[in-house]
């Protein structure tokens, strides 16, 4: 096989991957350092969008559009609303950053040391690809008739789990309504008292 042509797809993936992840790192540094919370939330939206692009490069297309819709869309909207209600400026911290930095550096060093044992990125014989995943790749089209394997697992093999997931969303919705709905009623009562 022609070497130059043969390495094409893998090289393109690697270049996109490294470029996008480096942009992610830059965005994250800005998010950590900024004190204006509106700017922080906007950059977090950008972070989510970049992350969605990374998912696309890493073949997780379903995760990519969920991240773009939920991470960059809904989460940004919710955070913006909360920032407008609670104040836009973060006050400078009283304590210095030395203590937290030490803890973070120590934890990070241990975790980075652990990545040496991780299998190389993208190798087809990594342990994760040799256990149950081949079952779904080989049989899910015949067993469910759905060409998208992620959808087949989510909606068919693990349908009850997805039902549980919607219960989580429902519970969260009820919790938010209880927390913020009661507030409006109390304000009304205060107005009536006055």
């Amino acid at each position: 096989m022609d070497q130059g042509q043969g390495k094409g797809p893998r090289l393109i993936t690697a270049v996109h991957d490294i470029l996008l992840l480096t942009l992610l790192l830059v965005t994250t540094v800005a998010v950590v350092r900024l004190r204006n919370l509106v700017a922080v939330v906007m950059l977090l939206g950008l972070y989510s969008l970049l992350m969605a692009a990374v998912w696309l490069v890493l073949d997780a297309v379903d995760v990519a559009f969920t991240e773009a819709a939920v991470g960059a869309g809904i989460t940004t909207f919710l955070l913006l609303a909360a920032v407008l209600l609670t104040g836009q400026e973060e006050k400078p911290p009283r304590r210095g950053p030395i203590g937290p930095l030490l803890i973070v550096a120590a934890t990070g060093a241990v975790l980075l040391y652990a990545t040496a044992d991780m299998p190389p990125f993208g190798a087809p014989d990594n342990p994760i690809h040799r256990h149950v995943a081949p079952y779904y790749i080989d049989r899910s089209l015949d067993e469910t008739g759905v060409p998208n394997m992620v959808t087949a697992v989510l909606a068919s093999y693990r349908g009850y789990d997805t039902l549980g997931e919607t219960t989580v969303i429902f519970t969260a919705g009820v919790a938010v309504l209880v927390l913020l709905g009661g507030r409006r009623r109390r304000e009304d009562e205060i107005e009536e008292d006055e």
Binding site: I74, V104, A105, M149
Partner: protein, 123 residues
């Protein structure tokens, strides 16, 4: 340990630690929540990185998104995608509840800074 083979893992850990730093070093509750979100996404990155298949030295059938298509036999692992889809939905739910609690804290304490909340508790 080659750079391309482990770059994703390194980035994932650096992002994770950036989120961790925001959670423990910032006194502002909204900033802490942003840190938690960054931490979560970093964990997602770790999982999705493991799911990717890219066969070395091949031209077309080198690993593609897990959707059946004529002419392709090598697919990336669909299971981490399924897991992370669920995790994203749970993460936005917890974020929404946390933000609602923060809005109530702002009403009760007049601030979302940890120092001022503690000071008001002491009064």
């Amino acid at each position: 340990m080659d750079v391309i083979g482990h770059y994703n893992y390194w980035v994932s850990i650096v992002l994770m630690m950036a989120g961790f730093y925001m959670v423990i070093a910032s006194a502002n509750l909204v900033k802490k929540l942003v840190g938690l979100n960054v931490f979560q996404t970093a964990v997602f990155l770790l999982y999705i990185t493991m799911s990717k298949v890219s066969v070395p030295d091949c031209a077309i059938d080198c690993g593609t998104a897990p959707i059946f298509k004529e002419g392709f036999t090598v697919y990336s692992n669909p299971l981490p995608s399924v897991l992370i889809l669920t995790a994203i939905v749970v993460s936005v739910s917890t974020t929404a509840v946390a933000l609602a609690i923060i809005v109530r804290i702002k009403e009760a304490y007049g601030s979302v800074e940890e120092d001022e909340m503690l000071r008001r508790d002491g009064e």
